[in-house]
């Protein structure tokens, strides 16, 4: 693992403080963000109607991502 990879991993696994969490969540949700997430969920549940299909899709996607 390179130094950059290690730093990215450490940052992504870091436990935020309560203040950091609240600061992030205090940012209001915009209409665009709400529509984007709604669209994403609508696509995912339409393309994979059952939760079993969604889990299987994520397993396949993760395998592809891992190479």
């Amino acid at each position: 693992m390179t130094e950059i990879e290690r730093r990215i991993r450490d940052e992504s696994e870091r436990r935020l403080s309560a203040a950091e969490v609240e600061a992030y969540l205090a940012v209001p949700v915009t209409d665009v963000e709400r529509e984007d997430v709604g669209g994403l969920v609508a696509w995912f549940t339409r393309r994979y109607p059952t939760a079993g299909e969604r889990l299987a899709y994520v397993r396949r996607a993760h395998r592809r991502w891992r190479g």
Binding site: V21, Y24, A51, G52
Partner: protein, 158 residues
């Protein structure tokens, strides 16, 4: 066992019929709800008295515990692993990043059953409780997940 050989539905079926009080948490719970996020592991929060039943359900899938039930109870968590990795939380209660105590029994009482297929279901926390579990580790991705879940919770069971 290779990851590609893992019978995921069979595993969930075995957990459901084991009698173990087991809640699917983590990102795979988001996937069940309908949020497309990537994840490598399975995360469960189970009742502290149900370790043996849960391990028994996982054994046919070559998932082996990293700790004995006694050690796991002392540590509050353990892992089942082979080609897959299942992180198992077994604390009676866990504090969130801001010090709120979240008790397993309370979350279990508010649980939701979500069908995976017409024959197999999995037990999840309510969305509000799933958000609380995301405050346990409080990593950057957990906060992103809280934001996603909050949007769904507006019109759901939270």
């Amino acid at each position: 066992m290779q990851a590609a050989d893992f019978d995921e539905l069979g595993f969930f079926r075995a957990v459901a019929s084991s009698g173990a009080r087991a809640l699917l948490i983590g990102r795979r719970a988001l996937v069940v709800i309908g949020i497309p996020v990537l994840t490598a592991d399975y995360d469960f929060w189970i009742h502290i008295d149900d370790i043996e039943a849960f391990n028994l359900a996982a054994a046919p899938f070559d998932l082996r515990p990293t700790h004995s039930p006694a050690d796991a109870r002392a540590r509050g968590r353990y892992i089942l692993e082979n080609g897959e990795r299942v992180d198992v939380l077994i604390a009676r209660a866990v504090p969130t990043v801001d010090g709120t105590r979240v008790a397993f029994d309370d979350v279990w009482a508010r649980r939701r059953s979500r069908p995976l297929t017409s024959e197999v279901a999995v037990i999840l926390p309510s969305i509000a409780d799933l958000i609380l579990t995301k405050r346990f580790a409080a990593r950057p991705k957990d906060v992103e997940d809280i934001r996603l879940l909050s949007l769904l919770a507006d019109g759901d069971d939270a």
